[in-house]
């Protein structure tokens, strides 16, 4: 598959914030002591007077961010994902203020892609947590180009947004990023044997797998908005292929798999499989090594598709 270099989603986000800072004077960025990991420090260096950190204090950061958004500012609160557990009550309370504000939470270091820092640092339940908070749009960008595009859209339209980023450099594969619309799933490749529904940087691997499976085999749906989920696109593809596999760097609980399963169970019951992690705490290791260990590589997806379509 053709790619255009590599960039981590967090780094792309950090650069996008700097660009956004020039466009929107009212933009304020916060971090809870991880600015050199989330790359919110790019914004901090460029606009020090528009950057706030209460230190290693996630509840405080989200509370302050909410208050600033309530004052009418565009606000982006950044953190390493797993630490946002500390701020869950504040996140819920932020959403309770209503969606008539510009409020964005950006979480870097999601999934096993975090690697050697180990299971304590792998946030594999963030999508589940954020899906549980009414009002939040839950966004899972695919590559660096996509991140930039999404940042522009969500700073334009008022609302509550959660943006799932991650740590490692991943391929940029969107040459001319498709026009991103909140709430829309994208059919990226056509096939009729199986539907692959992937989110985040796994969309690249899904396309890679589809290529290996050959022409006309896999229908690939890219999910950049997990909530609200584009049920029409999912149902239409399930009707075409009769088999659905979801693919994510997240536990099987509460993320893409269960979201899609819920939609299909209600509207078009379809045999399903999943590429995701069991409900476990994970281990340290190199990201590729871990992807192998937990069976979320391109190769595992190819194998699962072949096995699924045998019957």
């Amino acid at each position: 598959m053709e790619t255009y270099g590599k960039e981590s989603l967090r780094e792309a986000f950090g650069h996008a914030l700097v660009d956004a800072g020039a466009k929107w004077d009212d933009l304020r960025v916060l971090d809870a002591g991880t600015s050199n990991s989330t790359y919110s420090q790019f914004f901090q260096r460029t606009y020090p007077e528009r950057f706030y950190t209460p230190g290693i204090n996630e509840p405080g950061m989200v509370g302050i961010a909410t208050g600033i958004a309530m004052a009418g500012n565009r606000v982006v609160a950044c953190d390493m994902s797993v630490f946002l557990h500390h701020a869950y009550a504040q996140i819920r309370a932020a959403a309770r203020q209503g969606s008539d504000m510009h409020f964005i939470i950006a979480a870097s270091h999601t999934g096993i892609a975090v690697g050697p820092d180990g299971g304590s640092a792998h946030d594999l339940t963030d999508l589940a947590r954020m899906r549980l908070v009414p009002g939040f749009n839950v966004l899972t960008p695919w590559d660096g180009a996509h991140v930039r595009q999404i940042v522009n859209v969500i700073l334009e339209e008022k609302g509550l947004y959660y943006v799932r980023l991650n740590r490692p450099k991943v391929p940029i594969f969107l040459k001319d990023p498709i026009s991103f619309e909140i709430g829309k799933a994208y059919r990226l490749r056509e096939g009729n044997r199986v539907t692959i529904i992937a989110s985040g940087d796994k969309v690249y691997n899904a396309l890679e797998a589809a290529e290996q499976l050959g022409d006309g085999f896999a229908d690939v749906i890219g999910i950049a908005t997990l909530e609200p989920l584009d049920t029409d696109t999912i149902i239409a593809s399930a009707k075409r292929t009769g088999r659905v596999i979801t693919y994510e760097d997240h536990l099987c609980v509460g993320g893409l798999f269960e979201a899609v399963a819920g939609v299909l169970a209600l509207h078009h019951p379809t045999p399903m499989r999943r590429i995701s992690l069991d409900r476990v705490f994970t281990t340290s290791g190199d990201p590729d090594e871990l992807a192998e260990l937990y069976g979320i590589t391109t190769a595992s997806l190819v194998k699962e598709c072949q096995d699924f379509t045998k019957s």
Partner: protein, 273 residues
């Protein structure tokens, strides 16, 4: 100091206490004792000369903000905003704790009704209010309970102006009634802690309107530091004297007509001043 006379303020305090008792008894639920302890604190603030608001334009940019962090005191907030003209007191009586009204069991942010923040879980509103003060030129007052300051994140707020921004337009009002839901509260040296972190600390009787008026003015005029206004109050103040300052009445409305009459009798015995 105030937009109306001291006597008029006392009369408002009396009638609002009567409405609180009436409202919560009729609804058969709501936090009466907490609301009663805050009557002078809230009236003294919104009737201070400097305090700006516009009931016809709740989102007015130049309004002074009142965040309610201990959200269970919202019955008082609803009645005071009626007094200020955001809506009628009848709206509160028909809507309180009913589906789809602005007068929920805990406040929901609704600027046209003068409701600055949604609340419920303790120790969150204090952070939102502080954050808000960083990005508005107007004053931000936040009412918090002493029980709420048992939450570690509330206590942490005292240190934040020191290492983030002093926010001189921020005033944290502590409803120090020494009672929480199931136990007494002793916050120990909390005022000293605030002093060490360079807050302007003012400690007063939270039922003394003159002391409140002066304290608010002092907070409003402060140029360098946030203000921590510790108001010693009595939970259930001005209701049934048997229940004043006593544990066991949190979120418990009068249970029957006799108990209701005891509240009204207690209020009337103190008179209209």
């Amino acid at each position: 100091m105030f937009k109306i006379t001291h006597q008029e303020l006392e009369e408002k305090a009396f009638s609002i206490r009567r409405d609180l008792i009436e409202l919560i008894y009729r609804a058969r639920s709501g936090h009466l004792d907490t609301s009663l302890s805050l009557v002078e604190i809230w009236l003294g603030l919104v009737y201070s000369d400097f305090f700006q608001y516009d009931p016809k334009n709740g989102a007015w940019e130049d309004r002074d903000r009142v965040f309610l962090s201990e959200g269970h005191a919202c019955p008082l907030q609803y009645l005071i905003n009626a007094e200020l003209g955001y809506y009628s007191v009848n709206d509160v009586f028909t809507g309180f704790r009913k589906p789809k009204t602005p007068f929920q069991g805990h406040s929901i942010r609704d600027l046209k009704c003068g409701l600055e923040n949604s609340n419920g879980s303790l120790s969150i509103g204090v952070w939102q209010a502080y954050g808000h003060s960083l990005e508005t030129k107007r004053s931000v007052f936040c009412i918090a309970g002493d029980g709420e300051f048992q939450e570690p994140s509330s206590q942490a707020l005292l240190s934040v102006p020191h290492y983030l921004k002093p926010a001189p337009n921020f005033t944290l009002i502590l409803n120090d009634n020494h009672l929480a839901q199931d136990s007494e509260v002793d916050l120990g040296p909390i005022a000293d802690v605030a002093k060490l972190y360079n807050w302007q600390v003012i400690q007063i009787d939270g039922h003394d309107l003159n002391a409140l008026g002066e304290a608010y003015l002092q907070a409003y005029n402060e140029q360098d530091r946030p203000t921590f206004l510790v108001c010693r109050t009595i939970k259930g103040k001005g209701g049934d004297p048997e229940n004043e300052g006593r544990l066991g009445h949190h979120g418990k409305p009068p249970q029957n007509d006799d108990e209701y009459r005891n509240y009204i009798a207690g209020l009337e015995a103190k008179g209209r001043v």
